[in-house]
């Protein structure tokens, strides 16, 4: 028999739920969905700023309702893929780099006809950059939006604490070390500096006998927020696919992987998997530099601002070290793509031109990118410094070594470290697995792991045929 208590529970439950059921809405104008996640834009402070852009756009007209969708970068590829499969794809995707574009071959709309129909003026872009987005067999997949050169960032306070000189301030300059000896600013020199900046809990550094590798509290160097291809590019540009479409491990990358493995597991000046997810390196966020426990990182322009939001230390830019006399500063070039499944490509193009035109200035500085529009490049540094100062006053933006950032554009990686591969998502998943394996195991045989990687990639490429 139902007791009073049971009935009461049942009733309360129904009541709560009934009220909730009343909370449902509806709306009408053409909906354009803007998907953010394949590149910059997913970090918390940017979310609000992008929402503002969306609100501005929606207020400026009635025909289109722009909706923002932000998915965490790690999940963004799977989610977009599932959305495409579900016939629920967004209209506009971006900002995204080459990796984003290459991950979804055939999914992008050729903008050529829309550019012509709208008489869209492309004269404000470097023609070479426009060609960058023209993919054979697929068409003009994007209009240039922003470039993100990479550079070295170093924590001035940590150099001071260690009492050693700062890295050079321009490409080609030498490094005068703590003994007054001039050194080429190459990977070996970087390693020496990084060792001194790697410190254990007792204050011993990685050059010392007493260095306690089980209790490191500060690291010297790291390639932050990148993968195996990204970090190997420090040694030189290459790819896992050769001209014939076969899987290869380029020699220069094999050398790089040995160097990284040693740095993580013998010298301990780069965080291995054990340390990289640890609390002293920022835990799940893996934002090493922001913790103040990281001496130097390589990173891209999009990192600026939000990337150092919690960092209570001075820092500056420096050139990426060279290898065999050549410095390679890997490059990200972003755009927005329109998905070819969009039911309203015209409206999507309207939004696209809004983002790439009227809002290009504030959006590029928001993402920390250098605008692709030539007319906006002139005062790019001043504008970025001003915009960043407003949101992140903890950094003296105007007095940073911006020249070295711009100089990085002269050292791009070609082929790009995000270049396409057959079965892109599967192949990426496989080489990430390789990365997990060697970064998590000190005694792993790097050569054997790389050979296994090559064989598996070959199998994945073959299955794609």
């Amino acid at each position: 028999m139902p007791s009073k208590k049971q009935l009461t529970v049942f009733l309360i439950l129904s009541l709560i739920l009934g009220v909730a059921a009343g909370l449902a809405g509806a709306q009408d104008p053409v909906r354009i969905r803007w998907y953010v996640g394949l590149g910059a834009g997913t970090d918390a402070p940017l979310v609000a700023a992008q929402e503002e852009v969306v609100a501005d756009f929606n207020e400026s007209q009635d025909a289109i309702e722009l909706v923002l969708e932000i998915v965490d970068n790690e999940q963004a590829y799977d989610v977009l893929s599932t959305q495409i499969a579900a016939g629920n794809a967004p209209d506009i995707v971006g900002p995204m780099g080459i990796r984003g574009r290459a991950s979804f071959p055939g999914a992008w709309l050729d903008l050529t006809s829309l550019i012509e129909a709208n008489d869209y003026d492309l004269s404000d872009f470097d023609p070479a950059l426009i060609d960058f987005y023209r993919v054979e067999g697929e068409g003009q997949l994007g209009i240039p939006f922003a470039v993100f050169p990479s550079f070295l960032m170093y924590n001035i306070d940590l150099f001071d604490e260690a009492g050693i000189p700062y890295p050079p301030s321009a490409y080609g300059e030498t490094y005068t070390d703590w003994e007054g000896v001039e050194q080429e600013w190459n990977i070996d020199t970087l390693a020496e500096v990084a060792k001194i900046l790697s410190v254990d809990i007792n204050g011993n550094d990685a050059t010392m006998e007493e260095f306690d590798t089980g209790n490191i509290v500060q690291f010297g160097f790291g390639n932050q927020f990148t993968d195996v291809r990204g970090r190997a590019t420090l040694f030189g540009a290459a790819n896992f696919v050769d001209a014939e479409g076969n899987a290869v491990i380029p020699d220069i990358w094999r050398e790089a992987e040995h160097w990284y493995h040693n740095a993580m597991w013998s010298d301990y000046f780069i965080p291995n998997a054990v340390y990289s997810g640890s609390e002293i390196m920022g835990g799940g966020s893996a934002n090493w530099f922001d913790t103040g426990n990281m001496g130097m990182i390589t990173i891209h322009l999009w990192f600026l601002g939000w990337g150092t939001a919690n960092l209570d230390a001075d820092w500056d830019f420096a050139p990426v070290p060279s290898n065999n006399g050549v410095a390679t500063a890997k490059l990200h070039a972003d755009t927005f793509g329109v998905m070819n499944s969009s039911e309203n490509p015209d409206e999507a193009f309207t939004v696209l031109t809004y983002l790439l035109g009227e809002r290009a200035a504030d959006l590029t500085s928001l993402y920390g990118g250098m605008p692709a529009r030539l007319s906006l490049q002139g005062d790019f540094i001043e504008r970025t410094a001003a915009a960043q100062s407003e949101v992140y006053p903890n950094v003296d933006w105007a007095n940073l070594n911006w020249d070295v950032v711009l100089a990085g554009l002269q050292h791009p990686d070609n082929p790009n470290h995000e270049e396409g591969m057959p079965s892109f998502l599967e192949a990426s998943a496989r080489y990430n697995e390789y990365g997990q394996l060697v970064d998590n195991n000190g005694d792993e045989d790097v050569d054997a792991a790389l050979d296994a990687l090559r064989d598996d990639l070959q199998a994945i490429f073959d299955a794609d045929m």
Binding site: M1, P2, S3, K5, Q6, L7, V9, F10, I12, L13, S14, I16, L17, G18, A20, A21, L23, A24, Y35, T42, D43, A44, V47, V67, E69, I70, V71, D72, E74, Q75, V79, L80, T82, Q83, A85, A86, G87, N88, D157, D160, E161, A162, G163, V199, I201, N202, G203, D205, V217, E279, I280, G282, G283, G284, S285, N287, D290, T291, N310, D312
Partner: protein
Amino acid sequence: MTDSKGKNLTEYEIRRRRRNLLLQASVTLFALAILAVYLMPMAYGVVTSLKSKAQTSDPGAPVWPAEALSFEYEGEGYDILQVPTENGIRHWALVKKGRRASQFIDPANPAGGLIDWEGNWRQLEPVREFAVQWDNYPRAWNTIDFARLLANTLLYAFVTMVGTVISSACAAYGFARFNFPFKNLLFMVMIGTIVLPPAVTLVPKYAFFINVLDWGGTWLPLIVPAMFGNAYNIFLLRQYFLTIPREMEEAAQIDGAGRVRTFVAVILPQAVPALTAVSLFHFFFAWNDFFEPLIYLAGNREANPITVGLTEFNGLYSSETQLILAAAVIAMIPPLAIFFLAQRVFIQGIVVTGVDK
């Protein structure tokens, strides 16, 4: 020695009672110890959700919510450390760090200028103060847009709860009271669906809902199938219906009531406890549902339920442990509250059938 009724107790009796008491105490203590370990993560979740961001990532910080003290000197904040000196431990702010020697300032006497100290500052402990960040809760609530997630989840849970309970009750009644061809075979098949991996039916269902019906990004693929009942609920309700005496239905039928009327007017009112249990089961199931919303809603954030919203939040704000845990605590309050209110009905439901979802 006497007991409360004043009777003399034999020595044996006393010893037996003592032994019992001892046994009782040790068993209970043992259970409490296990319980403490078992529930520890909950306590951890609540405590950590009240900490500052800085504290959550500081391995040396105490377990309770606390904040490291700092001292402002010439416009900059510096951490106050416990510095051993000739005059005992002093609380000084660390201004200039060095590997072998550092410079401090005494907050009690900033005019005294920088004090040189020989030694390694990394070996010094910071000075901390108890501080609870209640603010984390409203922040988590707003950042994750909890109101919308909650409305979505409740709407989904409620609609499917009503639908599945009604259809399950019908089917349960059919299995409990009627004879029809292949009844036992069908009953067996029904139970069998419980061990069928959902993955087997997932791909065609997905293709059908998405490609044929164009239901991508909507709740329909989740709601519609639930309207046809489900094996757990049918089984539980059938078991309950079997315990209801047939005489009551027969009396109703003599009064001229039809089958449907008998079911609605006689059986259902008798079965309120079981119906409540089934409703609660379904409610908790829906509250927990993750995989299907993940796939069918496919990033349609507007429609996300709490579970999917929480995982997204976890990804986007991975460095804000305290906010993520605050969100997790908020998400577990409603089911826990309902459970504590209705635990008798609920536990009874599980025990009756030996079934859970």
